[in-house]
């Protein structure tokens, strides 16, 4: 060893070695492109009428933060349990993941989170603003009215809800059957709205002149009375025994007044109510036959609902219109006329005309007409025009010296869905808050400033300047996702009751999924535009210019050393970084 050391010392060893730190070489001065963390807007959150922060909800679920995820829904929608079940989930239709393999099962996750909150009896911690002096009366305790009350209460207002029926919920309570929406779920979500201070007075049907009285007691009114009355068929025999309208039929089931059916029941109509009626008839032991004057693809009912109905044994007769009903022995005879397609309507649906020839007769035991609904009273309807009438995206605001009245819910929404009703209630709440705090002129600009992406959905969190308001309104496209970081993985299958069981019970059709499955499903989410701290930027930066810190995203870029190579922006799987040209002034 000594020998080795001795010999080694003789050998020349002249090498470059520097004790100067390379920190003096501020490579940031080479930069002509500047990366910047900028979270963006996911397409799902834009298409959700309630503007739920879906990308964030999926991310929190992936992290196992189920309560945070649930509260993130509650920030924008008081009804996760309801919407996780009955929403037609337009979010999934625009999911960028669909271009990769299949859309994320967002509604399944929403339902999972609501179930988890229910099972663990979570108490939500959702931000509430300081109390304000104004009070507001909400007329109608359907999803629109309750949502308005909820958001107004979060914004600090005192809210009283007046409901004509004996229980709150509106269409959720009386219209949607329990196999789609169990009562316990609805009751719990309404209870939570009451817990934040909303008073609901039931069994208080109002008449038109009550508006004046309320107008004096309250600073503003929100009117969301919905569609309480079915439209008449307008054909002979409509008054016969065994013929009834869809809303009464569904209400009867919810009130527990419905007995067993036998034989064939005709259901006239193609909307969600018609489907609910037909599926209920199957459960009551009858055979349901839907008669629709156009084709299946023209039906306003949600596609998934139609599919489930047919799966459960509902028959569908397309291009048939009812002509008359008459008694035939102990039964009824329904005459239907064939319709033919002549071109396309402006809404893209088939334009139809009656065919020549003799009508066809169908033997039935009962008939339920569910061809559409309308307001029960004319004064429920919003005014079309006039001074002080403001048409908002989901509401109509009538601002007059005598008082401010906002109309919402189904009567002001193009699409009649629970999520749209929530949107309408939220918009009314935000519009009234803008009005009370900054005046009527501020309503439209302030609403415009809190839309998710280009709108029309409005975000409460953006309105209240929460963290989400820092995001860019740019809506992330699939091209902007670095799909190399994702692996093909099939979408979770919503477990359902067996078809045989479904026809015997009003028990819920959709079954719960495990937390494991939920996490696996949310891992599929691209979290478009959101940083999930994957650290790709940190790992790939050749200049170690991505520094960790305690800021919101947990990191920042050290521009002294960032050369602007753009690797971070390219390797970001989710487009949470943006690369911009440096704006060097002349002579720099």
């Amino acid at each position: 060893m000594d020998k080795k050391t001795e010999a080694t010392q003789k050998v020349s060893l002249f090498i470059p070695r520097s004790y100067l730190t390379t920190e003096g070489n501020k490579t940031g001065s080479w930069r002509f492109l500047r990366p910047r963390y900028e979270e963006k807007t996911a397409p799902c959150s834009v298409s959700c009428p309630a503007a739920e922060d879906i990308g964030m909800i999926q991310m929190l679920t992936t992290q196992g933060s189920f309560k945070d995820a649930w509260e993130t829904i509650l920030r924008e929608n008081p009804f996760p349990g309801v919407c996780g079940r009955v929403c037609f989930h337009p979010c999934e239709g625009v999911c960028n993941r669909a271009e990769f393999d299949e859309a994320v099962a967002i509604h399944v996750i929403e339902r999972f989170l609501a179930n988890t909150a229910h099972r663990n009896a979570f108490t939500p911690e959702v931000e509430r603003l300081a109390p304000k002096k104004q009070n507001i009366a909400v007329i109608g305790a359907g999803p629109g009215g309750l949502s308005a009350a909820y958001f107004l209460a979060l914004l600090g207002y005192k809210v009283d809800v007046f409901e004509g029926a004996g229980e709150p919920g509106g269409v959720l309570r009386w219209g949607i059957p329990s196999y789609r929406l169990p009562l316990a779920i609805l009751k719990e979500e309404i209870r939570r709205i009451e817990e934040i201070g909303v008073r609901i007075q039931t069994g208080k049907p109002l008449v038109h002149r009550d508006l004046d009285t309320l107008g004096k007691e309250y600073n503003a009114l929100f009117l969301a009375c919905g569609h309480g009355r079915s439209m008449a068929l307008g054909i002979p025999g409509e008054e016969l025994e065994g013929v009834q309208d869809g809303l009464s039929f569904l209400r009867g089931i919810r009130e527990g007044r419905m007995s067993k059916f036998s034989g064939r029941v005709a259901v006239i109509g193609g909307g969600n109510a018609a489907i609910d009626v037909a599926r209920s008839i199957i459960r009551l032991g009858g055979k349901a036959l839907i008669i629709y004057r156009r084709r299946r693809q023209d039906m306003p009912a949600f596609g998934e609902e139609i599919e489930m109905a047919l799966d459960e044994g509902v028959e569908l007769r397309e291009l048939r219109a009812p002509v008359s009903i008459r008694k035939a022995g102990g039964n009824l005879a329904l005459e239907v006329r064939s319709m033919k397609i002549v071109g396309t309507d402006t809404d893209g649906r088939a334009h139809i005309e009656p065919e020549e020839g003799k009508p066809e007769e169908i033997k039935i035991s009962h008939l339920v007409a569910a061809i559409g609904e309308r307001a029960e009273e004319p004064w429920y309807e919003p005014p079309d025009e006039g001074t002080g009438v403001l048409h908002l995206s989901h509401c109509v605001m009538a601002h007059k010296p005598g008082g401010t009245l906002v109309y919402g819910g189904d009567l002001t929404n193009g699409i009649k869905s629970v999520a749209h009703a929530v949107a309408s209630g939220k918009e009314a709440a935000l519009a009234l808050d803008s009005f009370f705090t900054e005046g009527i002129e501020s309503v439209q600009p302030r609403l415009a400033a809190c839309r998710a992406g280009a709108g029309p959905a409005l975000s409460m969190e953006i309105y209240t300047q929460g963290p989400r308001s820092d995001r860019s309104t740019h809506v992330v496209t699939y091209d902007e996702i670095n799909a190399d970081y994702f692996q093909f993985d099939p979408r979770v299958k919503q477990p359902r009751l067996l078809r045989e069981e479904r026809s015997r019970t009003f028990g819920e059709v959709s079954l719960k999924i495990s937390a494991n499955l939920a996490i696996r499903e949310t891992e599929r989410c691209f979290n478009c535009g959101l940083c999930n701290q994957c650290d790709n930027c940190y790992l790939f930066c050749p200049d170690l210019a991505v520094k960790k810190d305690s800021e919101a995203l947990g990191r920042h870029i050290d521009y002294d050393y960032c050369k602007g190579c753009g690797i971070c922006a390219v390797e970001c799987p989710r487009n949470a970084l943006i690369l911009e040209e440096e704006d060097y002034e002349e002579g720099h």
């Binding site: 080795k4 003789k10 060893l13 470059p16 520097s18």
Partner: protein, 392 residues
Amino acid sequence: MKKVIEGSQAVAEAVRLARVNIISAYPITPQTHIVERLSDFCSDGSLDARFLKVESEHSALAALIGAASSGVRTFTATSSQGLALMHELLHWTSGARLPIVMAEVNRALGPGWNIWTDQTDSLAQRDTGWIQLYCEDGQETLDTTIQAFLLAEMVNLPVMVVLDAFFLSHTYEPVDIPEQEAVDRFLPPFTPRFQLDTNNPCAFGSLVTPDSYMEMRHSIAEGMEAALDLLPEIEDRFAGIFDRRWAAIEPVECDDAEIILVTSGTVTSTCRELISDLRKRGEKVGLLKIKLFRPFPVEAIRRILAPAKKVAVIDRNFSFGASGIFAQEIRAALCNCPGHPPVFGFIAGLGGRDVTKDVLEGIYRQTDQSDRPEREDIWIGLKEVHDAAERS
């Protein structure tokens, strides 16, 4: 303890006995058995080393450059295209004065795609500043690999231990595997003369101006020269413990030889038999085995070859547009000796073609019967071929 093992296993055993800390390699035939065996050693605990899996030979050597800079003992093995891919970092290793040891299994370069032995891959790296040692059999391979670590660490230069594909790498022979304790006595733990140290941060390999670059190159040259002097000392030390000796060059029957054949690698063993046969028939023929190619032992070679009448160099390699590479080096070594013998350059055995005793005897006869070489390169056993490019 003697065991019948492959040349590849001999390398792996030596690396285990040398207590290497970091191994990084990318598999390539015919080197694979070396790294497979080492990976087994790492996983079964018989060698306490990290085996770094990498995506290319370039990365394998880059990883070792980092590891060696931190002052630990390092090893890699490669072959042919893999060595070619390392080229840039071969220069870096010597420039950075890192004592990395590599086993290089001589394999032909493609195309035509060929996995058999050919020295052109390693000889093409002769100017990269690596010490090169060409081995003849399994025992020499094992011993040389152990010695390589000591040599590399003494002169702060990388060492390439070179062995023929298949003829050595995949051939089973009895090999004496020394005891760990004895190897530990021969090869002490690595004491780096410089290393990365977080308590005393510095950067290696930074910008060097024309003011100092030449001196740095000269320092490497001095390291190479030192290796020439130190190798015999290492051999003495090795022989003292293991009772075996190898040498930079080995003359066989050269004292009165009129014709001396020059070989390297496994061809040497075949040639030994030929020399023995020819001597029995009274032919004045000798053999010079060259083991150390870099640094090239010019003085020692001159002493052996200058008195001969003719020199025949057998090259299992070729430098296109010139000649066999050993022949070039031998000519260069002799050219300043007045009245030096003519040097015949024979090209044989490229791409794994067998170099038999008959082939070598043919070379000897041709040398004996010619006064001077007609060409700088004489290709042995070429067959007539037809141009394949124009086949319709």
